[in-house]
Structures are given as C-alpha cells and as structure tokens.
Symmetry: C2
Subunit: 504 residues, 2 copies
C-alpha cells in the first residue's frame, strides 16, 4: 500500500472541510499517476485509522470521488481508481504543439489596432496612507454588518433559480420600488419604479444616455470646467463639446442662451447640456435656483436634453438645499443620474437613471448587449437596507461626520495655509476646491507630498487646456479630523519648501 500518511497532508484549522482536502489530494495523486487507473483504495476504516480521522470523513471524501467519476465502487470489493478515467485529454490543434509553456504571451496583436487617445486618462484610486483625495466616502463608516446580513439572507432563502438566474435588466424590483420612494421624498421627484433604471455606478447611466441620445456630429454643452468621465463619454459618441463659463453661481445661462441661438442659426442645434448643479464638478459651486429654471426653459425652447448628474445630493450641510432640476421638469427634458457608490462604498456599484419610461426602456435595451443585468444580490441588499431604514440612518450618520470634517478641514486650510491657498467653504459634498499660489507647480507639489507620505491629486485632470487654474480638489470626507491635521501638516511643510526655493 502507498504511504498515505506521508502523501496526504491535512490541515484541520483550514476553512476548507477536511473531507474536501482529502478528496482534493486523492485527485492530485491520481492526476500525478501516483495512484493508477484500476488501483484499489484502502478501506474507509483502514484509511481512517492511518490518517487518524473519523471514518465518516473518509466516506465523504470517497463519495466526492465517486460523484466526480474518478473513483468507482465495485460491489462487495471496495473502492477503485476509475478504469476509464474521465479526465479529458484535449487534442492539440497543431501537430507537435508542445504541452509545456515555452513561448511568452503576446504583447501586441496581429491585426490592425489603434488605441483611442480619448480614453487615456489617469484613474483615481484610494490611497492606503494619508490622503486628500478627489472626494471619496469614508468606507470605515459604511454599514458593512447590515449589508453582510442582507447578503446572507439572500444566499439562504428563496428559490435559487429566481435568486441566481437571469434577472431584470432594469434592476431588482425591491430596489426600484424603495429608491423611487426615497427619491420622491428627498428630492421632490415624481418617479414610479418604471421611471428608474438601476445601473452600475452613475458612470453607466452617463454612458447609456450618451450612447442612446447622441450621434456623431451632435453638439453638446458642458461647463468650461467639468467632469472628465462625462466628457469622455460624450466624445466617445462622436459628438463635439462646446463650453460655457462657470462662475460662483454655476454655469452662465446668458452664455448658454447665446450659444443655443448661434448653433440653431448654423443648423447645428445643441442636443444635450451636461450639468452637475448640486455641486459643480470640480469647483463645488451650486447652480443658483433662477439659473436652474432658466436652464429648463432653454431646454424646452431649443429641444435639448439636460443630463443632470446629481452625484452627491445626499451630502449637503445647509438646511435648505435646492431641489434638483428634475424636480421641476414638467416636459420630460431632464435625464437624472445619481449614485449610491459615493454614499456607501465604491465597491457597491449602484447608480440609477430617472427618465421618461420610453427612454428607460431604450437604455435597458442597450444595457442588455453590454452587461445584460446588474448584480441581483447587491441590488436586493441595498433595497433591503432602504426598507429597514439602515441606509437612511447611515446617510445621516456620515453626513454629521462629514459636516464636522469639512468645518475642521476648512479651519485648517484657513489657518495653516492661508498665504498660498484660496478656497470657498463648500455647502456640501466631500471635497474643497482649492487654488494655489502660482509660485507652486501642482505636479511637483503632488510629487513632493507623496514623498512625505501624503497622496493628493495634482489637479491636472480638472484644469481645462490652455488655462492655468492651478487648482485641485482636496477631499475631506474619507479622513478623520486627526488624519486631516496630519495631512495639512505635511502639505504645509512641502509648500514651505516651494516658497523658500522661489527666488522672486
């Protein structure tokens, strides 16, 4: 008999059950040829003694092998390695094709292929250490226990074909229902579940909307400063972007009206206007109420769609935030896009589009050929957290934490960095738009800061070409007050060096 005791190594403290470990290792011995086809295995009692295991463990391991077909049971005589081993031996396509890997994989394809320069942009990610990021949430506050509980209940209960089969492309019915109520209550919308498409983050909502509404050659308007995720999606359709100035009250509506008129006169009408009215990205200013109404009037007058990206409506620190454009839209001019990834955690990719049903249906048709459906477990879990109130409780808790962090961070900026940084305290959101003294080169600043252990964006993604805003977003939400102090201390130290070395 083979020396099973030395061949088989079991780890009773492992998360993998012992019978599974044993079955795996028997399978490996067979594949390696150590156990040959037709060979008889020790009896279960005998092997149990040898390995000092319960006999039921051996029976379970053998049963696995029988179920998988690499063991056979012969009645009255025991368990054998299968005579016709079902392991597949695929046919190589080329004669002499080696089974061992020698060539390195290809780097470049053999067909014509051009990368799209539009899409080559830096990807913002979390930093493990100290950071003043683009405005990300503090994941440490997220309701993980509640989410874990909702996931567990999804795994445990219900019909598996319903829970894990193909699902509705528009999203889990529970989430669409709950979200509809939530949006109507908090944002003054008038949605029904049929007006909602659940997406994977707000970016999928932008993507589907641009791909559905725009064609090559169309004209789209954004602010002079704007979110690169939107401009990339607009340009991908072949549409061109025209910009209007953004001041401390948001996008300039007189400039937009003039542009609409001009474009109509050259038969190149505006097809869409992209706005982030709650907090303009990146500068965080709020679009004033009268400008919002003017924007809706212009949309009706010129027939363009308003793509309203309300990415951080859940975070405002004034008691009377202005309702979204979509709340006052009487004629179906607004496509309203939002997200919960900034309110919970980026890995929980739940975004949504609110629009007339005809558009929602068209967006869903397109989504089918991209990823068919979202994640029904996640959608159920978030729906459940709306239902239990856990999510609203979480929003309120983090709102309070972020409010305190914003105040503390702005105090720090005003005291520690007042000579080089200009900013306005934002009414909401998760980041402060800061502009630095032109003595300071933003790219070098980011580099120097990272050497001192502080990660921050240089702002190059926010600055329109040809302008030298020397600005960047500094996110306060994902750091505690203590961490913010440490971050600002590093920033101060690095800035001092610039001022010292500046010879003017």
């Amino acid at each position: 008999m083979l020396p099973f005791k030395s061949l088989i190594q079991l780890d009773k403290s492992s998360a993998t059950p012992v019978f599974v470990q044993l079955s795996n290792q028997l399978g490996q011995l067979i594949r390696a040829g150590t156990l040959a086809s037709g060979q008889r295995l020790p009896g279960t009692r005998q092997l149990a003694e040898l390995l000092q295991l319960n006999r039921q463990t051996i029976v379970a391991a053998y049963d696995e092998g029988l179920a998988q077909g690499w063991l056979e049971s012969r009645s009255g005589s025991g368990t054998y390695v299968a005579a016709h081993f079902p392991d597949v031996k695929p046919q190589p396509l080329l004669p002499g094709q080696s089974e061992t890997v020698t060539e390195s994989p290809q780097d470049k394809p053999g067909y014509l292929f051009e990368t799209n320069p539009l899409l080559v942009r830096p990807l913002l990610t979390y930093s493990a250490g100290l950071h003043l990021d683009d405005g990300f949430p503090d994941i440490r506050l997220a309701p993980m226990e509640e989410l874990g509980r909702a996931y567990r209940s999804y795994f445990r209960w219900g019909n598996p074909q319903q829970h894990f089969g193909y699902a509705d492309t528009k999203g889990h019915p529970l989430l669409r229902e709950q979200l509809s109520v939530y949006l109507n209550e908090t944002r003054g919308l008038r949605t029904k579940p049929d007006n909602i498409l659940i997406t994977r983050g707000s970016i999928m909502g932008l993507h589907l909307t641009c791909q559905t509404l725009l064609q090559a050659g169309d004209r789209v308007v954004t602010g002079e400063t704007t979110w690169f995720g939107a401009t990339m999606n607009i340009r991908k359709t072949g549409a061109s972007i025209l910009t209007v100035p953004v001041d401390q009250h948001g996008m300039d509506m007189d400039a937009l009206a003039e542009l609409c008129q001009k474009q109509r006169s050259v038969a190149r009408p505006i097809r869409m206007v992209f706005v982030t009215p709650h907090h303009h990205y990146p500068t965080t200013v709020t679009l004033r109420a009268d400008r919002r109404i003017r924007l809706l009037q212009l949309a009706e007058q010129y027939g363009f769609a308003v793509l309203e990206d309300d990415y951080d409506y859940d975070f405002h620190y004034l008691s009377r935030p202005i309702l979204p454009l979509a709340s006052a839209d009487q004629r179906g001019m607004v496509v309203y896009v939002g997200s919960l990834t900034k309110s919970v955690a980026p890995a929980f990719r739940i975004g949504y589009v609110v629009a007339p049903t005809a558009l929602i249906n068209a967006l869903a048709q397109l989504r089918r050929i991209i990823d068919r459906q979202g994640d029904p477990m996640l959608e159920f879990a978030i729906g459940q957290l709306f239902k239990t109130g856990d999510l609203r409780r979480h929003f309120r808790k983090s709102l309070r934490a972020y409010h305190a962090r914003r105040d503390h961070f702005c105090d720090l900026l005003a005291t520690e960095l007042k000579e080089v940084v200009q900013f306005t305290k934002p009414d909401g959101g998760m980041a402060v738009w800061t502009t630095f003294d032109t003595v300071i080169d933003m790219d070098s600043l980011a580099l120097q800061a990272s050497r001192e252990g502080l990660s921050l964006a240089s702002g190059s993604i926010h600055n329109p070409p040809g302008q030298r805003l020397n600005g960047t977003r500094l996110g306060f939400a994902s750091s505690t007050e203590d961490e913010l102090e440490q971050g600002v201390a590093i920033l101060k130290k690095v800035v001092e060096k610039f001022r010292y070395t500046d010879s003017r």
Copy 2:
C-alpha cells in the same frame, strides 16, 4: 408621558436588532410630530421597564438618535428631542410647486429621441415551471454554500478601504491569477494574468472588443446562423455583417477564403470573424480541427481578428475535445472570450477576455467609462473557489449530471418524437439543436406548449431571415431526467394536435 407601550411595537424574532427597531420607531414618532422638538424622553431605566427590555437596549437606541442628531443629551438632565431638528427642508424650484404628488410621471421625453430597432430583441429568461430552454445551467447544482462562505470571509476580514474601495478595472488579482492557470491547464492557452480582463459575462467581452476593434463601415463575417448577442454588438458599431454557410463541421472555410479575396479586391477587407468553434451557436456543431487551422492561416494572411466565443468549453462529453483556436494562435490573431455564468449561475456575472496585453489595456480603458470596475467581492469569491478546488469539483459534478441528462433527453427525442423532430446528439454543451417537420409552425408550437405548462423558445431568434429552418434549441441541462420526461410528454401531446389538424 406618551403611551410608549402602545406606540412602540417590537418584534424580538426579527433579523433587525431590537435597539435598531426602537431607534427607527422613535425617529418615526419624531417625524410624525408625536414627539416634539425639545421634548424630554423617559429615562433609560424607566423606558426599559415600560417596554420590558434590557436597559442597555434603550441606551443603544438613544445613542443611535444622538449619533444621527435627532436626539440631544443635556448633562445631568437626560435626553431630549433635538431643538434644531436636522431634517432638511429642500427649497422647491418653482414657486407653488406642490409637495404632494399629483402629476403622473412622464412616459415620453421632450427632446428628439429614436429607439434603435437593432436592439429590440426578445430577452431569454428562466422559466419557473417545466422548460426546455436555450441551454442554461441547473442552478440547483451550483456551489452556493461555498460561494456564501467566500462572500462571508470577504465581509469579515481585511482592510475595508481595500475591500470596498475602487478596484482594478481589469479584475481582482486573485481571480486573474487563478483563471490564468485554469485556462492554461484546460485549454492549452499560454496566458499570464496580464493577458486577462475580467468582464461581467462574456457579452461585455464581446461589446468591448467590437467597440474597440471596429469602426462604422467595417466588414465582419459570422456564420449564416449565429448568436444574436454578437450580431447586435457588431451592428452597434456601424460595421456590416457578411455571412458564410455553416455545415455539420462548422463554418465553411472555402467560402470564407473566397469572401476574403473578394472583399480585398473591392478595398473593403474583412476586419473580424466571429466564431463559436467549440459548439456553433445555435446548431451546436464543432468546427473541425483542419478548418480551425485554416481559419488562423486566413487571419494571418488577410490581417483580420478572430473573435472566438468559447461560451461552453467546460461542458464536453467526449474524452478528446479539440482545443480552442486561441491555443494555436502564434501571431496574436485571436481574441478569446469566455464565461463562467453558464458554468455556475447567471447571477454570478464573470466573463473574461484573453488577448495580447496591448488590447487588454485598451479594453480596460473603455470599460472604465462604462462601469469602471467589476464586483470585487464576486471576483474574490470565484477566485477563492478556484483556489480551494471547489469550482473544478463543481464543474466535474455538473458535467456528469449534464452528460446523463443529454443521453436521456436524446433517447426521449428519438423514441417519443422521432416522426417530427430531427437532431444530432451534441458532443457537448447544454442544448440540442432540433428541426421540426414543416407541418409544425414553431411560434404556434411554443404558444400551445406554454398553455400546457411547458416553456420553450420558438427558435425565431435563431433562424436567419429568408430561411425557414424551423429549428430551435432545446436545453436539457437545467432539468432533471424526470423533468425532461414530463417536458417531452407535453411536447408530444402538443405536436400530435398539429399533425391531427393538418389536412394534407
């Protein structure tokens, strides 16, 4: 004092902790005005007695209210409803805008908008009752317990910012590593993790590849019969589709060679060929080895990309399946797309693209503006199941079950329906391609069958326009042998009616 005992209803058997229930209900009383701003709440000891709860439960519920800001603690005097209740009162945009919902939501948008007729196709879904579907897996066999365990470990352990923050657009490193090993072992590929992009189902792989490689006006070849998910994605780019015949050995390579020559001569070269060589969709035939080699040669000669959709390679019932085209690709001509959704369950949307790194990078750049990243929990869980061997064990178990189901189903077709159905026993996959006697109208057949409790596809999505194949796919994998017998009995009964009513 308010009659708290009757106002508050707690359910100790609920999954929601009692203190959360209590805190929710106090919040509701405040929002409803029953508890007014500034009002003092009972002491924790007093309320505990009233509600017959542990005092710690009351303390925890009050703490929630304090954290959320709707309660205030005044030192030495107790807990009060906050004087400045932080509930937001948003400003309506339009004067006189009603807070109550009276208007019905819009059905049609106010801007110009056309639906894309390309995208309007029926969506295949699971049926709850008896069914002979398009070839879906049996979710009852899926390793749910193991997946649930992997999910739990993801929730419990590790740094939350790493686990739930922004993740790598190309997929979780564990899964890319494990998948690379698995593909190299089972399919003779020579991948490294850098050659792999994890997608959401194979359809996202097709979408990204078509959007990246094709431009409007390009020519793409598919079989005369083919998968509508691919044709929809190809046409969405503005490319046109040319077709070549498919016989019992797959796509006709002489016809393809002739077409390549012809298209080159008119300066409209073929840019891509889409194939499902393992089991041609929908007819399940296997592309013969010599034709595969010829296809690769043509790709090199004419410079087109081969999009190989290997959607069901894990299910073959012969001991020597032919390796994919990608295994013999020396020049980087093949983009290899696969999926685990057919091998585990559709809700676990894991697909992948294998290609030269330059293309993988470009696909990832595009994916960023569509959904940014996949689901790190799911990707981790599937990677973990590869690592423990659970997934390979599951593949082998379901392979054996499906093998037996195929044999049983084909026996049933051959005995019960031999006079009206023609088919060839498939070498693998999850469905049999059947063609019915032309006496039988397939749409009516599907309708009649559904009235008798059997859901089946009419095949209209499989038949190229202008041909009357009268064929459909009948999936056997998702039904037990007993369910297959019941399904075939209904089919037989319905078919008899057609033959009886046919007057010829």
